[in-house]
Symmetry: C2
Subunit: 206 residues, 2 copies
């Protein structure tokens, strides 16, 4: 006894939304097709009508997640900042601040990454996303180095971007591991002290 029909592509999106809900709740490993169906208010068979198999569904979900992403949206206002170093740090700060609110998604990314060790497609997608993130940081890093060549002698822009990306990813990890403990401000203060403080002695008071 088939139920009501849904317009065109909408069903696909409904199913993906449901998959996201279930995957967030049960983790990727515990995300069963039947649960997704229940969550979407739809029969299990229909899932296989829209997606060839479970893998296809999960890959589509990952695409969907990456689409509405998150990482390395450099805000316009930040680009207005004078000092390259300040610009670089502001971007990092922004991303770190954004992380806690996106914990669910970040968690899912990690799940996918673990899954990726067995699925080349997924691994490629995730690496691609991380590469894009690093690439987005590169020009900023380049500017930092150019502004103070003496200090950053034999530091490459790639290297600096990689370190920064690694730092953000480390934060992401911490947040997922133990959300209660992660102190955004403490992190940023320490980071600031490590990288910037002594360069702006007039700015010590803040």
């Amino acid at each position: 006894m088939p139920g009501p029909r849904a317009p065109e592509e909408q069903r696909r999106k409904e199913i993906l939304r449901a998959a996201f809900t279930v995957a967030s709740r049960e983790r990727l490993t515990g995300c069963k097709v039947s649960d997704v169906a229940k969550e979407a208010g739809v029969s299990k068979g229909l899932i296989f009508f829209y997606f060839d198999n479970k893998d296809t569904l999960l890959v589509s979900l990952l695409e969907w997640l990456l689409h509405r992403t998150i990482l390395a949206r450099v805000d316009e206002e930040i680009l207005q900042l004078e000092s390259p170093r300040e610009r670089f740090l502001a971007v990092l700060r922004k991303d770190i601040e954004r992380l806690p609110a996106q914990r669910e998604t970040v968690e899912l990314f990690f799940d996918y990454w673990v899954m990726g060790t067995r699925h080349p497609d997924i691994q490629r997608m995730i690496r691609g996303a991380l590469d894009r993130y690093r690439d987005a940081l590169r020009p900023l890093a380049e500017a930092v180095i150019e502004a103070e060549p003496a200090r950053y002698e034999d530091v490459t822009a790639d290297g600096l971007a990689a370190v920064a990306a690694g730092f953000i990813e480390g934060c992401a990890l911490q947040i997922v591991m133990d959300p209660g403990r992660f102190e955004v401000e403490a992190y940023l203060t320490s980071l600031h002290a490590l990288v910037v403080r002594h360069y702006r002695p007039d700015d010590v008071t803040s």
Copy 2:
């Protein structure tokens, strides 16, 4: 037709070794009891004789991994270093250098951590290990701050240790994600430039 007997506790260890081999090869998700049995040259039933169920086996494997660990063994020689900052950085450098050789184990830790989101025991074990790592860094961080209170004003030892731990974990992530691309030296150079360079102008040449 039972096979030969093995002395005492040795079987347990053999099985854990086999489990480690299989888990490294097939990832934790693909680590099946029957495969572990085959790898250990033993019947599947015997696994359940030594371990109540699969979870127990995997938890034991994690304990085993954590035991022969890796993280935050502060070498004696490093402790001899004069400057607290140099000591701190030397420890980080050491740990980063050690990571690539331990990729398999590191990968497994990540698998476990993902698994931990569904198994409180495992989550607790991993958090405990990370906490211990952070704690091991704490005294070093404390010394760094004490040596230059002005620079590290309102940076706490906890915060600094957390940032450092996060940095290492970020590196671990990078290594597992894309081992080919990770450049230990580039990382260390950038890190050095960020944290230390300008404090030792006489040391610029190296």
